[in-house]
Structure formats: structure tokens, C-alpha cells
């Protein structure tokens, strides 16, 4: 090796050594040690410990709370990833327009992702209280449901009548024609207001909320109601990030593809499914993978909920590990084993999604 090369390598090593050292201690050594601990009965209090083989793993799968955590984590991952991927894509599609002020909206939408999970979770706990804003809002909507239904009904009716008239005149307007929809909206608002003023359609009286979110013992679709609250919270805070990733992907799709599709007579919806979705495949792969990893390893929101909700109704894998170390005896062996299960689960899920789910390659 020429000496200049060797000097360069030495300097490179010098440059990278702080990073390597940190990597070595806090990642590699840490991971190896976790693997080792998972086969021992180490606790935080005692210094001595014994090798126990696979006993920790056997114990874990016999423990009710761990199984709950596992079930919650997998359910949480599936629900949140599905919903937030669709919503993020829909939001990004709305935002992917050449209109004035679009950057402003894009910036504003990103706010929930910028703020700390601690602050947002505290606000969310307030939201989910019995007389918190979520129940207030639901109560308002249900009290105003006669008005809202009337409005929607008149809108659809007005739109149908207008589209019918235009088609009779020979204009091939789409059922969602925006210009006609604007007129329908004005008509619907005016008529609903009139019916309200006449006292025919009036909101019901709002009743004090009964439903509890965080202390509810019931389940819905196999997940406890308090965990559903965290599902909503997590979707709310993650959509903006995923939306921005989708948006960057959307802007990379060549305009000519849409023009070609339009010449072939594809409707906007057809363009979306035949141009946008396939072209976005690599981005969707990234979003889904990030989302799967993020939801499986979700910790902050559960930890911050604390005793606002019963532990067994919100516990997930990441919190189970933390809780085993910092409560009671501090059973490091069990916690390490659970952490390894989580790590393996993450790899398996990512691998499965790569193989059977949305793949990296575009068509």
C-alpha cells in the first residue's frame, strides 16, 4: 500500500473514530449485551446472575401482560399503518396542485409532526377526557345531525337535478362537476337555513357526554378503547410526515404521463389508479416500511399516558420492555428477551412486507 494511501486511511480513521466509538458502545456492544442478558436472570438490583437458557422466552410467552403487549403491538401496527398510509396519500394528492399559497398549507399541516410527543400527548389526554373536546365535538355533530343530513341530502339532490338537466341539454358533465357542485352547495345552505329559520329542521339538545375513552374497559375489533385513542393520536401526528414524503414522490412523477393518459381519455380517478399509484410504488414502499417500524416500536405516547389509562389496556411491546426494567425488581433478563422478540418481530414484518406487500420496484 502506498504511504499516501495509508496516511489517508489513518486520517479517515481519526475522523470517524468518535462516531465509531459511540456506535461500538451504544449500539453494537449494547445489542450484543442484550442478547446475552436475555439468556440470564439478571436484575437491576443484583450484580450476580446465572445463565438460564431459554427460560426467559418460555416465561414471556406464558405471561399474560406480555401476550397482551404483543397482541396490542401487532394490532396497532396493522391498523395505524393501513389508515395513515391511505390518509397521507389522500392528503398529498389534494396538496399536489399548482395553486397559490400551497406552500403555506403544506407548512401548516406539518405542525403536528414537529411538536414534541410529550406536549401533544398531554393535549390529547385532555381531548379524550369525558368532557374533553372530542366528546364535545361528537356531541355537537350528533345534536346537529338533522341539520347536517338535511344539508347533505339537499346538496346531493340539487347536484343530481343539475347534472341531469345538463345531460339532457347534451353536455357530458361528470356527476362531480365542480361548478355545478358550487351551485348545489349554495342552494343546500340557503334551503337548510330557511328550513332552520322556519323551525322545521332544528338541532337536538346536546346531552352531557357519557362515553369514556381512556378508562373504558371495552374493546373494539380486538383492541381496547384506550388503545384506539392512541391509534387516533398516532395517526394524527404521523400523517404530516408521511404526507410530505408522498408529496415529494408525487412531484417527481413526470407531467407528460398524465397528459398522455388524459389524451387516452382517462378520468382523474383512472389517472390516479393507473398513473399515480404505480409510479409511487417506491415511495409507498418507504412509507409503509417506516410506518411499520415506527408503530411497532411506539413508546412515547403509551408512557406519557401513564396512569390516565389502565396499563393493561394500552401496553405495547416497547413499553413492556421499559416497564420490566424500571418497575419492581427490574428484571433485565426478561426485558432483554422481550426486546429481542420485538427486534425479531420488526425484521420479520419488514421482510414480509418486502416480499409479499408493496415492493420497492416500480412497474
Amino acid at each position: 500500500m502506498p504511504s499516501s494511501k495509508r496516511t489517508e486511511a489513518l486520517y479517515a480513521l481519526l475522523f470517524i473514530s468518535p462516531f465509531l466509538l459511540h456506535l461500538l458502545i451504544f449500539f453494537i456492544f449494547a445489542f450484543v449485551r442484550t442478547i446475552w442478558f436475555s439468556f440470564t436472570d439478571k436484575t437491576t438490583l443484583r450484580d450476580s446472575y446465572n445463565f438460564v437458557g431459554l427460560q426467559n422466552f418460555i416465561n414471556l410467552f406464558g405471561e399474560e401482560r406480555f401476550l397482551l403487549a404483543l397482541q396490542h403491538s401487532i394490532g396497532f401496527m396493522l391498523v395505524v399503518t393501513t389508515i395513515q398510509t391511505f390518509l397521507a396519500l389522500a392528503t398529498a394528492a389534494v396538496l399536489n396542485q399548482r395553486l397559490h399559497g400551497i406552500t403555506f398549507f403544506r407548512t401548516v399541516y406539518y405542525i403536528p409532526s414537529v411538536l414534541s410527543s410529550a406536549a401533544v400527548t398531554v393535549i390529547a389526554i385532555w381531548f379524550f377526557q369525558k368532557t374533553g373536546f372530542l366528546n364535545t365535538f361528537i356531541g355537537w355533530v350528533s345534536a346537529h345531525s338533522p341539520v347536517i343530513l338535511t344539508l347533505v341530502g339537499i346538496f346531493i339532490l340539487a347536484q343530481a337535478v343539475q347534472v341531469g338537466l345538463e345531460r339532457m341539454r347534451g353536455l357530458p358533465v361528470a356527476p362531480t362537476d365542480p361548478a355545478l357542485a358550487t351551485i348545489s352547495l349554495v342552494v343546500a345552505i340557503a334551503l337548510t337555513w330557511l328550513l332552520g329559520a322556519m323551525g322545521l329542521v332544528v338541532p337536538r339538545e346536546a346531552r352531557p357526554p357519557e362515553f369514556t375513552w381512556l378508562t373504558n374497559p371495552d374493546s373494539f375489533l380486538g383492541l381496547p378503547i384506550p388503545l384506539w385513542s392512541i391509534v387516533m393520536l398516532n395517526i394524527f401526528t404521523t400523517i404530516p410526515t408521511l404526507m410530505l414524503i408522498f408529496l415529494a414522490g408525487l412531484q417527481d412523477i413526470p407531467k407528460s404521463l398524465y397528459e398522455a393518459a388524459a389524451i387516452d381519455g382517462a378520468s382523474p380517478l383512472q389517472q390516479f389508479f393507473w398513473v399515480t399509484v404505480p409510479m409511487l410504488r417506491p415511495v409507498t414502499f418507504l412509507v409503509v416500511t417506516l410506518s411499520l417500524i415506527g408503530t411497532l416500536q411506539m413508546f412515547d405516547q403509551v408512557a406519557l399516558m401513564g396512569d390516565s389509562a389502565p396499563l393493561n389496556s394500552i401496553i405495547v411491546m416497547a413499553y413492556y420492555v421499559y416497564n420490566s426494567v424500571f418497575s419492581g425488581e427490574g428484571h433485565i433478563g426478561m426485558a432483554s428477551a422481550a426486546a429481542l422478540v420485538l427486534a425479531v418481530l420488526t425484521f420479520v414484518v419488514v421482510f414480509l412486507q418486502r416480499t409479499f406487500g408493496i415492493s420497492e420496484k416500480a412497474h
Binding site: F15, F105, F133, A181
Partner: protein, 460 residues
């Protein structure tokens, strides 16, 4: 999107198409506005809640005492009269505070003056209750209540009259030489006789108790902030260290800044050094290292924190901010960011410097780093935001040492200290206060945030 309208099966006239374009833009703006409400609305209503006396009140009101300009003016004046402090108010020697209260007295009832008391009242639940603060009740003197005016009025079907009373609360300075303390608050209870209905007062009361008979003020001389942002002031006043008496929240803010800035500094230097070495320098085994890093990025934090916790314990860095900083160390994602940036700059520049005979260290700090300002800016902002919001590492390292908490951990502490008592005003206020630096950073550097996500995610 407007193009597909241009290809109808039959020719449509231009005016129709223009109308349609306008309408479509209108609907898109409408949709964006609705989305904006969805993303920002929750923060807006929570902010309203943080101003209220009872954030969990039902039904939810959007107009309440704290948002009425009438009360802002009154609170300002009363603060000035109480302690010469229009912002935070108080009750200082020499204060002389005139106060008016109006009642509706139904016909057939003889108007009777209300009973005015300055009660002894300790600061709410949680940490504040420990402290022995100066009680205004010990020094306040209330003048006799006089009737000012009567005028006939109706409430609903009921006829009667509105009677206004006036009294003065003063803090006599008995001996100028005597060093009398200033009370932070001047609690006030005004109890009306049965049958009289409270209508208005110089300042709207914080609560109406006993079926509206007792109007109660947390402070009759609150000042503008002390009234409108009561819960925010309480975050600083009530949550204090039981040993030193200094504000927890200020301490946590300082801690958060310290940890975030140190992390930024460390990453600025070492992540760019490592990124440069990976991007440009000859290093055997680079590919292997790369693969390893990618693999490690997918390993959950939970599979590593146990050992890290024990390492920090052995170094006796638990409960110390330095422990958190050491653990945060150099972020892999930031090394990647810098590597990518250095790969994008032309090689000729450094080669020219190297030919000049400068050693790599000098080249790096004199020539390479100054060129990297845009990337370093992005790195600074991303690191600061990430560490300011970091909860997991703080929870592992700092647990139990309230004095060295960072803000996210502090919020979690508040949640457990005040959550049981349902003191949502204070918790919401502290959540909003903790956001301020990030919101400012976001408003100023929004492009870095938004572009950072999309570009780093797509390239990475």
C-alpha cells in the same frame, strides 16, 4: 389536473371551462382549509382550554371571561392598583382597590348588600400546596359595602332591579418603616343574600359557587397576564422545587436548551467529520461498516437501552444531563446527511487543497466545512428539534431527578402530579409553553423542516 377538462368528447365552450376551473380551485382551497382545521383545530381548542378556569367545563364555550377585552382592561387596571404591576398584579402595601358588584334583585325582595371576604387560599393541588406563600387575607382591609345605584330591569319574565354595590380593598401601610410583604394574589369571595342573582362585577369572577350565590376570584388584582394567562403564570409560580424554591419549569427549559445545544454541537463536529470520511476518504471496510449501520438502524432502541442504562450507571452518569448527552452522541442519520452532502460537492476543490500540501484536518476545517453551511444548517435544526422533543432517553437516564428533567419529561411529571387532581389548566399551559421554542424555530426555518423530511427520506 385542469388538463383532463380540455379533452371532452364534445367541444364545450370556453366560458364553461373557465367557470369549471375556478370552481375546482374553490373546492380544492375548501378542502385544504378543512384539512388545516383538522391539523390545527385541536391545538386551537386546547389553547382556549388552557386559558379557562376549568378546561373540562361542559358545555364547551368559545367565549369566556378570559377572552373578553373588557376583563383585560379591568385586570390591567386592578393589577396597577394592587401592586403597581399591570402585567402580573399582586397586593402590595399602600394598595387601594375599588371594586363594584351588581346584582339582580327580583321584585318584592329588599336589596341587601353582599358579604365581602378576603379568604386565605393556598395555591391549588400538586407542588404549589407545599409552599407557605404570603396570604393577602392577613393584611387586607375591606371597607363597608355601599350601594351605588339602582335601576329597574327584567330578566326573562321576572321584573326587578339591578343594584350595584361598591367597596374598597386596601393594604394599609401602618408604619412606613415596617417591611410589609407583598402578596402575589388577592383572593376574594363575595356572597350575595338569598334571592339576589349575580350579574356583573368590575372583573368577571373565576368561579360562581353555591348555586351562583358566591362569586369567587383567584385574585382581585391579577394584572393582564395574571388573569388572561392565569394557568401560564401558575406554571412558573406553583411548580417549584420543594428544596430550593426555584421554578421547575424554568430549570427544565434551561436543561432542554443545554442538552439540545450540546447535541447540536457534537453532531456538527463529529457527524460532519464522519460523513466526510465516509464520503471522500480512503478507508478499508467502508462497505461493511455501511451495511452494519443500515442493519443497526432497524434494531429497536428497546433492544439497546438496557445495556446503555447500565453503562451510564457504571459511569455514574444517571440522573445527569451529561449522561443523556453522551448517550445521544452522534446520530447515524446525521452522519448519512453529511455524507450525502459531501458526495455532492465537486472533488476538484479538495484535491487542489491537498496538492497545496495542507493536511486533511486543515483542509476539512478551512475549506470543506465552510462549504457545507447549508447542510450544517439543516443538521442543526433537525438535531435541535429531535433532541428538544426526545422523551425516551430522558425517561431512562433522568428518571427521579426532577431538578435535571428536560421539558418532555417534566410534562410527564406534571401529568402525574396534577393529573389526579384534574388540574388541566396548568398541564395544558405547560404543554403550550414547552412548544414555544420549536414553534419559533419552525416559523423561521420552515423550509428546512419541510424539505428535510422529503429529501432525506427519499434519498436515504
Amino acid at each position: 389536473m385542469a388538463t383532463q377538462a380540455m379533452k371532452p368528447r364534445r367541444k364545450l365552450d370556453e366560458r364553461y371551462l373557465a367557470r369549471q376551473r375556478w370552481a375546482r380551485a374553490g373546492w380544492i382551497y375548501g378542502a385544504m382549509l378543512a384539512l388545516g382545521v383538522f391539523f390545527i383545530g385541536p391545538f386551537y381548542v386546547a389553547f382556549l382550554g388552557s386559558l379557562k378556569d376549568n378546561p373540562l367545563e361542559w358545555p364547551f364555550r368559545t367565549t369566556f371571561a378570559q377572552v373578553l377585552p373588557k376583563n383585560w382592561v379591568a385586570a390591567w387596571k386592578l393589577g396597577q392598583q394592587g401592586a403597581g404591576n399591570p402585567w402580573l398584579g399582586g397586593f402590595a402595601p399602600g394598595a387601594n382597590i375599588p371594586f363594584e358588584v351588581s346584582y339582580f334583585v327580583p321584585e318584592g325582595t329588599e336589596p341587601t348588600p353582599p358579604t365581602v371576604t378576603v379568604p386565605e387560599r393556598r395555591a391549588g393541588a400538586g407542588l404549589g400546596a407545599i409552599f407557605d406563600e404570603v396570604q393577602a387575607s392577613r393584611y387586607a382591609q375591606v371597607s363597608p359595602v355601599e350601594e351605588v345605584s339602582r335601576r329597574p330591569a327584567r330578566i326573562g319574565d321576572e321584573a326587578g332591579q339591578v343594584v350595584t354595590y361598591r367597596f374598597t380593598i386596601s393594604y394599609p401601610r401602618s408604619d412606613p418603616a415596617l417591611d410589609l410583604p407583598t402578596a402575589a394574589r388577592l383572593p376574594l369571595d363575595v356572597e350575595a343574600p338569598r334571592g339576589q342573582i349575580f350579574l356583573t362585577a368590575t372583573l368577571d369572577p373565576n368561579r360562581l359557587e353555591r348555586r351562583g350565590r358566591v362569586a369567587s376570584w383567584d385574585s382581585a388584582a391579577p394584572g393582564f397576564f395574571g388573569y388572561t394567562f392565569k394557568n401560564y403564570v401558575r406554571v412558573f409560580r406553583e411548580a417549584r422545587d420543594p428544596n430550593t424554591g426555584s421554578s421547575f419549569f424554568l430549570r427544565w427549559t434551561v436543561n432542554s436548551f443545554f442538552v439540545s445545544l450540546m447535541a447540536v454541537l457534537i453532531n456538527l463536529i463529529f457527524a460532519s467529520l464522519a460523513g466526510y470520511a465516509l464520503a471522500r476518504m480512503y478507508l478499508p471496510g467502508k462497505g461493511l461498516l455501511f451495511a452494519l449501520i443500515i442493519l443497526l438502524m432497524a434494531v429497536p432502541q428497546q433492544a439497546m437501552f438496557i445495556s446503555n442504562y447500565l453503562v451510564l450507571r457504571d459511569l455514574s452518569l444517571l440522573g445527569s444531563l451529561w449522561g443523556m448527552i453522551v448517550w445521544i452522541g452522534i446520530d447515524m442519520a446525521k452522519v448519512f446527511l453529511m455524507k450525502q452532502f459531501f458526495e455532492s460537492i465537486p472533488r476538484e476543490i479538495e484535491e487542489a487543497a491537498l496538492i497545496d500540501g495542507a493536511n486533511p484536518i486543515a483542509t476539512f476545517f478551512r475549506i470543506i466545512l465552510p462549504m457545507a453551511t447549508p447542510a450544517l444548517g439543516a443538521l442543526t435544526i433537525m438535531t435541535f428539534q429531535g433532541i428538544w422533543n426526545e422523551f425516551f432517553k430522558a425517561a431512562v437516564v433522568l428518571s427521579g431527578q426532577q431538578g435535571s428533567y428536560t421539558l418532555p419529561l417534566g410534562l410527564s411529571f406534571f401529568r402525574s402530579a396534577y393529573g389526579a387532581a384534574g388540574d388541566w389548566g396548568l398541564m395544558l399551559a405547560s404543554a403550550f409553553l414547552s412548544m414555544i421554542p420549536i414553534v419559533i424555530l419552525f416559523v423561521v426555518f420552515q423550509r428546512y423542516f419541510v424539505e428535510g423530511v422529503s429529501t432525506s427520506a427519499l434519498k436515504g
